[in-house]
């Protein structure tokens, strides 16, 4: 069963604009992670936010977490063509040491 659902499924923006992707989940989590996947490749970890955190930054990335709404958002500021990729949220629940991934947002940044 899918724990995380990303929204929108696809997003197309101009270079320099900000991109916002959202993730909703169903059950209480230990942490929520965001991964990027370039076309036809493996996933790369971007950032992790724990359940007791509300906001986290890493370079041009900003992640927020609202546990009351069971949702998270990933903001990429000043986007570049190289940011074109699929972005996935993943949740860790309990002590299972497993991640449950959403279906992803395909981001296209136009030069």
């Amino acid at each position: 069963s899918q724990q995380g659902e990303e929204d929108p499924q696809a997003l197309s923006i101009q270079e320099g604009e900000n991109a916002t992707m959202n993730c909703s989940y169903k059950t209480s989590i230990n942490n929520l992670q965001w991964y990027r996947q370039n076309s036809g490749r493996g996933l790369v970890h971007l950032i992790l936010i724990r359940s007791n955190e509300r906001e986290k930054h890493s370079g041009r990335l900003r992640v927020t977490l609202d546990t009351s709404k069971k949702s998270s958002s990933l903001l990429i500021t000043a986007s570049r063509a190289a940011d074109t990729a699929s972005y996935f949220c993943a949740t860790e629940i309990g002590s299972a040491r497993q991640l449950t991934f959403g279906s992803g947002t395909q981001l296209t940044v136009l030069p």
Binding site: Q2, Q33, G40, G42, L43, Q98
Partner: protein
């Protein structure tokens, strides 16, 4: 840096063939995972392993088995490949001292 390698980037097999997908990690991680990725469905967990000779079913284990004889190697086996197993297969490893999973480049399997 952690490196996770998968034996093939592309693989074409016939229905009924036995298929082995190999995954090797070089950082002594105790946890390893196999996912399949299909359009619109994201990543779905097939099997995972917390230790050598140990395996646990994920969300979609039917039609698959796994083997972990050595800590660094985790194999996914399709006993009798079927066309609905055409997919991208991703291997990942994870250590308990880090929170992130490290992924291999993926194997795109086509079953004809």
């Amino acid at each position: 840096d952690v490196k996770v390698t998968q034996s093939s980037r592309y693989l074409v097999k016939r229905t009924g063939e036995k298929v082995f997908l190999e995954c090797v990690q070089d950082m002594d991680h105790e946890n390893m995972f196999w996912y399949r990725q299909d359009p619109g469905l994201g990543l779905r967990l097939i099997y995972f392993s917390y230790d050598v000779k140990m395996k646990e079913k994920g969300d979609i284990p039917e039609g698959y088995s796994v083997s972990r004889e050595k800590k660094e190697r985790f194999s996914l086996i399709l006993e009798s490949a079927s066309t609905n197993q055409t997919s991208m297969y991703l291997c990942a490893s994870w250590t308990s001292i880090r929170d992130e999973q490290f992924f291999g480049p993926g194997t795109r399997l086509t079953v004809l």
